[in-house]
Structure formats: C-alpha cells, structure tokens
C-alpha cells in the first residue's frame, strides 16, 4: 500500500493536496490528487466481523480509487481510545472512523436510534428506515453539528442477550447483577436492578474472569467465541432484545470529505454501502458455525430468556424510549420517524418473514 506520491497527513486540513503533474489534464476524472486518511476504530484490528470489515473497507476504497485515497487504519487503542473515536474524527485528529452511534448518547440522546434501540428494528428493517424511510437524513442532520458525515457501514444482525454466570429464571435473578451492557439496553437493565457497566469489548473477558462483572453482552457467537467468553461464563441467553440489528457507523470529518473530488466522495459512500452489505453476510455465515462450536464442543448452555423477563424488558424499553424522546427535540423527531416506520413494518413482517420462518420449519 505504499506509494511514492503519498501525502502523509495527520489532520484533515493537511490531507488535501494535488500531485504536481497534470491536475487539469483529465478534468472529468477530477485530477490525480492523492489523499491519505488516518482511520480510528473502536475495535481490535483483527476482531472477526468488526475489525475485518474495517480492513475490507480500506482495501476496497484503495482499489476502487486506484490508490488515490489510502486509508491508514489505527485500530483499537493505537491512536485514540475506543470511546474517543467520535471526538477524534469530529476534531480532525483523524479523517475517518468506524464505531457505533449508540456510544455517543452523551453527545445527543438521539444517537442510539442510528445504531439500535431495544425492541427496535432488525438489520433489514434498519436499512429500510435509514435509506428509504428518512433515517439517514436525520442522522446526517444531527452529525453535521459535530462536523461529521455518517455512513451506515455494517450490521451484526440480531445479537444474543448475553453471557451470565447464573441462570435467569425470573426477574429476581437479575437484581444485583453487575453486567457489561452498553447504551439503552444497559439503562433498561438498570431499571430492573442490574448495575450497568460500560467497558470496551476488548476488556470483557478479563472483567468476567476477575469477577468485576457477573454478566456481559457483547455481540453473538462469532465474536463471543473469538473473545473466549464461554470460558468465563456458563450460560448464553437469547434473543438479543437490546440490539436486534445494530448498524455500525463510518464517520468522516466534514472538511476532509468536502476536500475530496466528487468521484472519491462517491467511492467512499459506495464502499460503505458495500461493507454495510458484507458485514451482515459475514456475521450470518459465521454465527451459525460459531454457535455449533459453542454448543457441541464447548458445551455452552444455550437458554431463551423467560417470557416474564422479556415482557418486563419490553415494557421498560418502551418507557425509556418515550422518556428519551420527551427529553430532547431532536430525539423526538428521530423517535417519531422510527416509531411510525416500526408500526408499519410490524404489519409487513407478519405476512413476510414471520410466516415464512413458520412455513419453512
């Protein structure tokens, strides 16, 4: 990936320059200006699914641009801490980042809607809302306040409810648990007596092992197996009510994006779309293999959350989202947009995916 004419640049402003030769020779191709962007992420570089998708995105942008836009990935803690990605890109310390919008609720109560909310949309439905239901326009409007351009860039599909070191047979079993569960799911849990802990994914294993937490929600079989969570917790619960289809985000510093010629802007956008498609396919294909291994080789106890627990989680989630919408004008707009879409999508799911799953089995 090294090229002679690269512009090494640590800030968005410095990242923009044209090569010496013939910038006007090919006007329609927007010249031969070259860009090198630094990319920060919230995941370890080699983490299957999330980390590998980031590497694929960088490779894809490099190939499609014939090397005119190169992405230098600084994953995990290499340049900034996982939960500092938003600020780093917003302030131009890096031009591009990969993370999840629900980590930034302190910036705006509306951000979780652009990733996943409890009992919300699954992956397919999220894409429908974002791209053809008004979601992405709202997301762009919000992030413009922070000089960021957001792109949906991956989805894990329905997650699992989490790993527990004791059985959950009733609501009583939740009380007093210390659980790593980020975002709104964690707030819902805390209303049911759980102590919410928010630590980066890479720290979950040792926290469980050392007894600093009793339970943890991460992603699903593919990622959880990679982190070895089955070695430090016995029970794996489903379904992932708290993150039914989380959209990952690619965020680009506004000035860095504006400095690109139109074709490179299109390439960034299209490659994010392609990764949005690819990551879900990756998780879908790999989760099933990992699930089989967890159950058959590692003898993990796979359990469904009891109905009364799910009912309590659903009701607390509904209340929390209503309160969130009432707390902030922008969150109200986003909530209402997604809520109206969700009502209609329930009717569609009832004559499409749901009866198809029934008919097939």
């Amino acid at each position: 990936m090294k090229r002679r004419q690269l512009i090494a640049a640590g800030s968005a402003a410095a990242a923009v320059a044209a090569c010496a030769r013939a910038p006007q020779a090919t006007p329609a191709t927007a010249g031969t200006a070259r860009f090198r962007w630094t990319m920060v992420t919230s995941w370890p570089a080699d983490l299957p699914g999330l980390g590998t998708a980031v590497a694929r995105l960088a490779g894809m942008i490099g190939r499609a641009s014939a090397g005119r836009l190169e992405i230098d990935i600084q994953a995990g803690n290499a340049l900034v801490a996982p939960f500092e990605v938003f600020d780093a890109v917003s302030r131009g310390r890096a031009e591009i980042g990969h993370s999840a919008a629900y980590y930034w609720k302190s910036k705006s109560p509306a951000t979780p809607y652009f990733c996943s909310v409890p009992f919300g949309l699954n992956a397919q439905e999220m894409n429908g809302w974002l791209y053809h239901g008004g979601g992405l326009e709202l997301w762009r409007e919000l992030y413009a306040r922070f000089a960021l351009v957001p792109f949906p860039c991956g989805n894990t599909g329905v997650q699992m409810a989490g790993w527990f070191n004791r059985e959950i047979t009733s609501l009583d079993d939740l009380r007093g648990l210390k659980m790593r569960i980020p975002g709104l799911g964690g707030e819902v849990m805390s209303r049911l007596g759980v102590t919410q802990v928010n630590i980066p994914g890479g720290e979950i294993f040792s926290a469980l092992q050392q007894g600093a937490i009793d339970a943890a929600e991460w992603v699903g079989p593919y990622n959880d197996l990679a982190f070895g969570l089955h070695r430090v917790a016995k029970y794996c619960y489903y379904p992932g009510w708290q993150e039914p289809g989380p959209t990952l985000e690619c965020i680009v510093n506004q000035r860095a994006f504006d400095a690109l010629p139109d074709d490179l802007k299109a390439i960034v956008e299209v490659c994010c779309r392609a990764i949005n498609d690819d990551m879900l396919a990756d998780y879908t294909a790999r989760n099933q293999d990992a699930l089989k291994q967890l159950v058959e080789v590692h003898k993990v106890e796979l359990r469904r959350l009891p109905d009364p627990v799910l009912a309590a989680l659903r009701e607390q989630s509904r209340q929390l989202l209503e309160e969130l919408a009432a707390s902030d004008a922008f969150a109200r707009r986003v909530h209402d947009s997604m809520h109206a879409y969700r009502e209609r999508i329930l009717a569609w799911a009832a004559v499409s995916e749901v009866p198809y799953y029934q008919a097939r089995s």
Copy 2:
C-alpha cells in the same frame, strides 16, 4: 451523461479504447480510458424496485468512475426481449445485464440456486451463503462457461405467494388453475395440478384481465401495486414459499470486464454490492406502505396459505430439489453447498431472528 470523449460501442470488443491524451501520465490510476457499456434488463425501465435499482446502479458507476465507465440502459424490450438478457450479454451484444438467474434453468439446472429455490434462504441468509459460504465462487465457476461474470445485485426480500381469483382452502383448489409462476416454484405447483405459465412480468396484468391465467405470482405489494394486480385478482396469499429471498443478478460479458483497468473492475463490483444492499432496503421500506394501501384502500383480501397446502408444497419442493441435484453434477455441488449451509442457518435462526420476532410482538 453525454461526454465528448465517449466511445460509442455496441459490442464488448469495440468498447475498449484509451483517450488520446496522457494515458501514461497517471500510471497508478490506470489512465483515462473511457468506456461506454450497453445494459439490457428483464424489467421495464421505470418499474419500482427492479427498474429503479438498475438506474441507480448506472448512476453510481458513473459517479464513482468520474464518467470513465458510462452505462447506457436498454431496459425491457428495448434491445432484446426480457428472457434473452443472458444470451445477449454472453454473446457480447451488450456488455452488461440485469436479470434473475432462475430464468436460465435451460442453460444449467443449477442456476435457480443463485436466485431463489422454494423453501430456501431468505435475503440475509442468501447473502451469507453467496459471499461467505461458497455460493458466489460456484456461481462464477458456472457462468464462466458462458463468458459471463455474475454479481449479486439486489434482493426483493420474501415475496408473496401470489394473486388468485378464487380462494385456496385446500389442495383441491389448486388443481386446474393456470398460474404465472416462473422457475422451480412453477414446477412444484405443476406437481399439484396447476398449469404453469411463464410470461414476463410486464404481461401479467393483461393475461389476468383477459382470463388467459387464473393466478399469478409476481413479487410483493410494492411491485404488485405498481402493476395494478389488485384490479384483476381478488385474493393475495402469503408467505412466498417459492421465492423467500431472490437475489437479482448483474452479469457482465467476460471480455468487456477483462478489458477494464483494475479500479473500474473494483468500481463495478462495489457498486453491485451497494445495490445489493439498497434494493432490499427499498423493498422493505416500500412493501409495507404498499401493503397498507392494498388492504385499506383497495380492500384486497389478504390470506395465509393453509397449513396442509404449505406442507404439500414443502414436500414437493424437497423432492424436486433432490431430483434436480441428481440430474446434473454441477447442480449436485451447488445443492449440497446450499443444503449444508441451510441446515446450520436453521439452528441460528432459531436463536436469533425467530425468537426476536416473537419477543417483539
């Protein structure tokens, strides 16, 4: 979309040429060669979902390539008939096409697997199999025999079972029906006494209106409403057992593809991925709106196929797929690949999407 330096070309061989100026000035960007491709499709140009996705694909490729690869869309019957797309691109009459692999079963019994088979995979699962389960490699291997490079390029999601002018309360009601239903779904239906009719989508309305057929399967609410099928049939049945997640294809003539520089090859591939993501989002968002309109405004009778009918369809489908696999060595390989994947995906769906839908409702 008109540019001075365009090369007008009707065949793949003629489509390749470099501009006069400075081809070696920017070696890493693969020069400034320009290409104009003719694209044939199996859909009317303005058909929502299918036709509009093709237009989006062409626009996306044009923007990402800064106009170096322009796509001239000749939709529907403009240049070739809908069911001649495969041959037209294979023989170089057009460089690129958009269609559905299950239309080409006469070329190879394996082609339906790359679109949709009865009681097979839904959209999310198809993408997992194609991109990360070995499906696309098999598809490329098969199409190479025909000098074609295939790309997954869209999915409608779960379709509906079809429109009927009489109620289906038992298997007896199927016997003697003349139904437009293509591919393997049609063959399954014919085993239950239905007369299978295969006509392009654009002819369904008049065939139903004139009584040439008694029933028709097309896509789902979004497309069916656009064709006005509710005006010529009373009952709309679900779920779409015959096409649970059909992948649309973009096919490129091998010589035309090979003639592209690497960056344009990457752009074609990435844009197809982006449309693969976008079309499903489009259908997901629009189907629900169209469903509401069909039921509330047009008073369509929405019905679920009775369990005994679904059970018979499932068993006939299983037998048909086994026979198909036994008839052809390549179909056997594809069948076995998808079948093994499908077994594992059923276990994953049972702890992810299925219980999530239950928990949400």
